[in-house]
């Protein structure tokens, strides 16, 4: 085995690293791989060895493909544990959030499509009415997921998902935890204007 474990090419690395640093507002180059983040990562059991410090190293090495598609970027629950403990104040959650957005812009297939669909649906619902209507939002989310599964003719997955959500919905209804009225803010036009502005400014995250 003469293959080297890591590959480094500055031409490829620098622009990517810089973009992630600027957009996430996190000083990735300050990381000295102490792995304090790794020790406490909430989803450590779920992501295997893909710990926050490893994600940072991946970005620093310019491995764009792995950086945009790995279990941590898609499973990170933004609990901010790693960032609170990092001796260099690096918030990995801000990095995973940035990488999710970059994946979307570059049309990289999300490793966990449901995560993306969830957040897209939430924002869609919030921007449309000014307030999030839980029932409508879950409807948008479920239809996004169903549409994706239908494209690959995975009808069983659709049925399973609907069954699970219907079960939860029914108990929520019984416990009077399902709200049937409709919420909206009359100033939603302001929110829409801000959303429009936000879309024009996608590359300035900070």
């Amino acid at each position: 085995m003469t293959e080297s474990a890591i590959e480094f090419s500055p031409e490829r690395t620098t622009p990517f690293l810089q973009e992630v640093m600027e957009r996430s507002g996190q000083m990735l180059t300050a990381c000295y791989q102490c792995r304090r983040c790794a020790a406490g990562c909430t989803v450590g059991d779920e992501t295997g060895c893909f710990t926050p410090n490893l994600l940072i190293r991946t970005v620093m090495l310019g491995d764009r493909e792995t950086a945009l598609s790995n279990p941590l970027v898609w499973k990170c629950v933004s609990c901010y544990t790693c960032g609170t403990r990092c001796p260099n104040d690096i918030q990995t959650a801000r990095i995973t959030e940035t990488l999710k957005k970059m994946a979307k812009e570059e049309h990289v297939e999300p490793m966990m499509p449901k995560v993306k669909e969830f957040h897209d649906a939430f924002v869609e619902s919030g921007v449309r009415w000014g307030r999030v209507n839980e029932v409508e939002f879950m409807g948008i989310y479920e239809s996004k997921a169903a549409l994706r599964e239908a494209k690959v003719k995975n009808y069983d997955a659709i049925v399973e998902e609907i069954k699970a959500q219907a079960r939860l919905g029914l108990t929520m209804f019984k416990k009077k935890r399902m709200h049937t009225g409709f919420l909206m803010a009359s100033g939603r036009r302001e929110i829409k204007a801000l959303y429009k502005k936000a879309q024009e400014m996608t590359t300035i995250d900070q």
Binding site: E46, V77, S78, A93, K100
Partner: protein, 294 residues
């Protein structure tokens, strides 16, 4: 005394009991919560994952509304709304350019100086004012709660002043102690319940919640107490599912802080709408109350 109040979407829907309890409890303690007009969704944890500008802009509009209405302080019981609003305020303060951009679209512009309080801070003020002890008429000595803070109450994605210990917060314990309820110490106070992963990545969320549940049981807890409606809904609505998956037989009610304080202040469980839990919350409170009367 009156303070501004931002309920947020959850408290108007699946966690409407938290809205009701907050108003009732604080009113009894001498603080009227005045809902700010025409507020909008704070963007929760989703906006930051879709568009960062929006994540600041959405809470900004609410800050502007509260300030224009003349409030010095606004209380936000939902931990996620509290976190997003506090972070947005800080970012607007530190980035005048961003502030100008956002303000240009707002009818009521963000100025500064609004105090954004968590529900625990408002309780703390009441403790300092001596209002809690005096009003606590019922004892719940048999209640053995573990206080669950989750993420949003103490950890922020941006440097903001945190009014409690980050790794071992004491706010809820202090509030409960002020009405004679002694909370248990435990390890999972600030662990994550998985938040939206309960919907979009159930395997991950269920594994996280099962760990929290096991630790609570090992400590001998008979209920959870929370401030966050997302944590409440997750631990409550999914408890049967994650316990079945991980072979846990016991079940624990998940109370809002306002529910336990409210019960100690003398409100009946039905008045507090404690019957709106997935895991029965009324029986335990009633049993303990009867026990005290014997």
């Amino acid at each position: 005394m009156e303070i501004g109040y931002y309920p947020g979407c959850s408290l108007k829907q699946s966690s409407a009991l938290y809205d009701l309890q907050s108003r009732m409890v604080f009113s009894l303690l001498g603080v009227e919560l005045k809902e700010i007009g025409d507020w909008n969704c704070c963007g929760a944890t989703s906006a930051g994952k879709v568009n960062d500008f929006l994540a600041v802009a959405m809470p900004a509009r609410n800050i502007g509304i509260a300030e224009a209405a003349g409030f010095d302080e606004v209380v936000i019981p939902c931990s996620a709304c509290y976190s997003r609003t506090l972070v947005a305020q800080k970012r607007l303060e530190e980035n005048p350019g961003l502030r100008t951009e956002i303000n240009s679209e707002l009818k009521r512009k963000v100025k500064n100086g609004l105090k954004i309080s968590s529900i625990l801070e408002v309780f703390m003020d009441r403790i300092d004012a001596g209002a809690m002890k005096e009003k606590a008429v019922k004892k719940f000595r048999g209640l053995k709660p573990v206080c669950y803070y989750g993420c949003m109450q103490t950890r922020f994605p941006y440097t903001v002043p945190v009014p409690d210990n980050v790794e071992n917060p004491q706010g809820m314990e202090t509030v409960l102690a002020s009405v004679g309820v002694k909370a248990l110490d435990w390890n999972c106070k600030t662990w994550c319940c998985g938040a939206s992963a309960a919907v979009n990545d159930a395997d991950t969320a269920f594994s996280l919640m099962a760990k929290i549940m096991k630790e609570a049981l090992q400590r001998g807890a008979n209920c959870f107490v929370v401030t966050c409606p997302m944590c409440q809904l997750n631990l409550d609505a999914h408890q049967d599912s994650f316990c079945e998956k991980y072979g846990i037989e016991e079940r624990l009610p998940v109370y809002f802080i306002t529910e336990v304080v409210g019960a100690a202040l003398g409100f009946a469980p039905e008045i507090l709408q404690a019957d709106r839990h997935f895991i029965d919350g009324t029986t335990l409170l009633k049993e303990l109350e009867e026990h005290e009367q014997k």
